[in-house]
Structures are given as C-alpha cells and as structure tokens.
C-alpha cells in the first residue's frame, strides 16, 4: 500500500511527541503474559484478523 509521504512525516512527528505506532507500519509482536475473557494466547493468533488494540490502565 502506498502511503503519502506527507502523512508519514506527520505521523512520525507525532510519534516522537505523543502518538502511538505510526499508521502504515507493521504492528510489532509482543508477548502475551496472560489473558481474561477468553483472550488469545499469543500475538500469532491475531494474524489474518482485524484487531482493535485498546491500550488501557485502571488508573
């Protein structure tokens, strides 16, 4: 997929300041330490699916 250069630049700029992973980049794999509510066991299980990751904290 082609991503306009300007949007990448903007995304990178924001990434440095506040933003999360810049759109268009492959989401890096990470270890699943455990899960609740029938959670997948590993990052590999997400492959091929549309996933919404909600980074959240209780505080």
């Amino acid at each position: 997929m082609l991503v306009p250069i300007r949007s990448v630049a903007v995304a990178l700029l924001f990434a440095a300041a506040t933003l999360a992973q810049a759109p268009g980049q492959a989401a890096p794999a990470f270890e699943f330490l455990g899960g609740l509510n029938d959670a997948p066991k590993s990052f590999a299980e997400l492959e091929g699916k549309v996933v919404i990751l909600d980074f959240a904290r209780t505080w």
Binding site: L19, A26, G34, N37, A39, V50, R57
Partner: protein, 241 residues
C-alpha cells in the same frame, strides 16, 4: 476483535475492567515495555490493525472502516502451501463444507499421519464445528424472524452452502415452517409479485416511471398489511415526487 491491553495485575483488570466496567471483550496482560514498543504515552490509546498486521489508524474505527477492513480477512484456515493440502484449501475457499469435512476425515484416517498434520486436521475440524454451531444458531434466529422474505432467501442460501450437512436439514425444516405459516405465505407471495412488477418497468424512463408509480400504489392496496405493500407504497411515493 477488540482486545484490551494492560500491564497491570490480572486481579486489577478483573475488578475494574470486567467487574466494574462490565467489559465483555478479551484482555491481555503485557510487559510495560510494550507501551514503549508501540510509542504509547497516554491511556486509553486505541490502535486498529488490518488483516495483514499493519496499524491502519489510531482511535476507534467507524462501521464503514471496519467493513472495508473485514473484506480482506480470509475465511480459509491457515495451512502449509503444499500440494497435498491444495484440494482442502480449494474446498474452504469455495465454502464447500461437505468436501472440507470429507477431505479432513480422509486425512485423519491415515495411520501414518505426522503430529503436525494431525494437529492441523483437528484444528480445522474444530473450525468447521464452530461454523456449524454458528450457522445453526443463525437458522434458529431466521426461523423465528417475521421478515419472512429475508429469512426465506437467507435460509435457501444456507441450504445450498451446507448441502449434505446438518445445517442444511435444519434450514430446510425452518423453510418448511415458513411455508406452512399463512402469514408468511401471504408475505412471500407479495414479495415475489412485487419483484415481478419491478422487473417490468424501467424507472429511468419517464413514461414507465409514471406507470410504475401507479402500479405500485395499486399493489400496495391489493396486498395491504404486508411488508411488501409498505415497501411498494414508499417506493411509489418516492418515485412519484
């Protein structure tokens, strides 16, 4: 799928997100370093990943975005790119579930089967069972629906896709139930003749459109009380404007 991600204790996630906030979706515990890996600096932060594993956007996706992303999701289970799996892959691609079941059974019957293939076969059999359960639940819903024309069409499609398997029989039974219901019979007949009526006229031509408006109004009166009549009336008013 929506997944909550937190580096906190399981008991805390349970108490706050599941118990207090009533969260029904899965939660995954992570190491704090994952936040850095993803450049997360504030909470909550939502990231959307497409089927190829790319981050496509930050923030909750719209229905339209989700729909577009879901089109790229393959319904074919993962399997090695080997010639012996080609028929199986093709059967999944065509949603020929009868063939899928038979090919899996054939593979499973091989006494010399290696562990990896055995696991693959079991996994796919479970996937087929999952889809069977899902479609059976859907058939029950359709059988109870009062939108008879819609239910009839969907059930017919299920019969075709699942031919030779339990869902096809269940769908046939549901179809028979609809056929035996007088209200449904009336509704289906109306839907059929409405489709026929529509096919006779080309609304992009003024004279035909005028005639169609008239015919639709007549139809609505004749089939009063049916969903097709309400549809015809609305269409007649829209085209007549």
């Amino acid at each position: 799928m929506l997944i909550g991600v937190s580096d906190e204790e399981e008991s805390l996630i349970q108490d706050v997100f599941l118990s207090k906030l009533g969260s029904k979706h899965p939660w995954v515990r992570i190491q704090p370093s994952v936040d850095t890996l993803y450049g997360i600096t504030g909470f909550p932060t939502v990231l959307v990943l497409d089927a190829s594993g790319k981050v496509v956007q930050q923030g909750m996706p719209s229905e339209a975005t989700l729909e577009r992303l879901l089109q790229d999701v393959s319904l074919v289970p993962k399997m090695p790119d080997e010639p012996r799996f080609a028929p199986l892959r093709s059967a999944w691609e065509k949603t020929d579930y009868l063939k899928v079941r038979d090919l899996l059974a054939k593979l499973a019957a091989d006494p010399k089967l290696d562990e990896a293939t055995k696991a693959l076969v079991t996994g796919q059999q479970e996937e087929l069972q999952k889809r069977t359960d899902r479609v059976l639940a859907r058939i029950a819903e359709l059988g109870a629906s009062t939108d008879f024309a819609m239910a009839d069409e969907k059930l017919e499609r299920i019969v075709a896709t699942w031919r030779g398997l339990p869902p096809a029989d269940a769908a046939k039974k549901a179809l028979a139930g609809i056929a035996a219901n007088p209200a449904a019979k009336k509704e289906l007949a109306a839907a059929k003749s409405l489709a026929k009526l529509r096919a006779q006229f080309d609304p992009s031509r003024i004279a035909q459109r005028r005639k169609l408006v008239e015919e639709l109004a007549k139809f609505a009166k004749k089939h009063e009380g049916t969903k097709a009549a309400a549809e015809a009336l609305a269409e007649s008013e829209r085209l007549g404007r």
